[in-house]
Amino acid sequence: MNTTCWELPAGIEEVLPEQAWAVEALRRRLLDHYRASGYGLVIPPIVEFVDSLLTGTGEDLDLLTFKLTDRLTGRLMGVRADMTPQMARIDAHSLREEGVSRLCYLGSVLRTMPDGFAGSRSPMQVGAELFGHAGVEADIEIVGLMIETLAIAGITAPVIDLGHVGVFAALAKQAGLNETAERELQDMFQRKALPEIDQYLRDQGVPEPSRRMLSALGRLHGDAAVIAQAREVLVAGGADVAAALDRLERLVAVIARRYPKVRLQVDLTELHGYAYHTGVVFAAYVEGVGHEIARGGRYDEVGKVFGRARPATGFPLISAN
């Protein structure tokens, strides 16, 4: 007798009745809320050709994606590791709506590697995307919907990190950094490696005041007062930096008023997904969990690879079963 035939692969779970009903009840509450907020539900396929699954925001997902060959066509397919790229494809090709599109989704994803220590490889993913509006109103709506999602899931006082990739992008451009240097510096900011950043800027010969501003950027995180500090420290950053700070300030003000229990943190070096994010970015944290429980942001070029670039912002939330 094969004594291992009932084992499941590491990170692949089944959900038994009591928990399954709890998951289902939460799923219903979330979808009801999205519907009440004007979001249309879409159910993307579990597998797609990797050509579409790994483009745009999906470029980082290559190693996480299980792949198989389609016996009908011989083409390479992938099991979705993240549903966000599918949403961009659906908006660009399947729907092609004029004006604003609000979409939500909920389903399982499959990953070759767990997300973090002892994490799941088959988590549930839920999220919402808002296509077709470039203004701060859309950012506010999506951040608000993420906070409401967490509240429905029982997380009423999360910490929300808010940033804007446009600040770093404008400073890097002003400093004359090439693509490689920009990417290396972005990685250092992500790791909060402040001494390394200072040394790197010196080694690259970045002139003043760009060096001073980039060096200061790593220290600009904290409560909403950080935005005022940033205005002083980054005053030579130009119109793009000022516009990014204006948008962030508006976002923080409205979110703080609407969701007073939420603790807001401003972090101008929140650069996750820098390759495709184009504006406001955000992440949600909760006490006792060492990594973010949700993150998202604006990625206005997300539909470009599918032939339809237009403003977009959204969030996915991953939950272990």
């Binding site: 009440a36 004007g38 004006g99 609000r102 077709g132 109103e137 859309a138 709506e141």
Partner: protein
């Protein structure tokens, strides 16, 4: 239900969405939207680029008094 300003609650039928204005600085509007959603209404907070929809179907398509 009546709004504080005397306007009457939209129709009880929740099958058509209600389009709310996009005033970011009006806490009473936030409360009104939350209350309507809690009752099962679909309430879309209009973005500045979206055209207000008036009178499509029945009175439940706009929040009375706010357009």
């Amino acid at each position: 239900m009546r709004w504080a300003d005397g306007n009457v609650e939209p129709a009880e039928d929740t099958s058509s969405p209600i389009y709310a204005p996009c005033d970011l600085d009006d806490p009473s509007l936030d409360e009104a939207i939350a209350a309507l959603r809690a009752q099962g209404h679909v309430v879309v907070r209009m973005l500045p680029c979206e055209e207000p929809v008036r009178g499509v179907g029945f009175s439940g398509t706009t929040i009375p008094g706010l357009f």
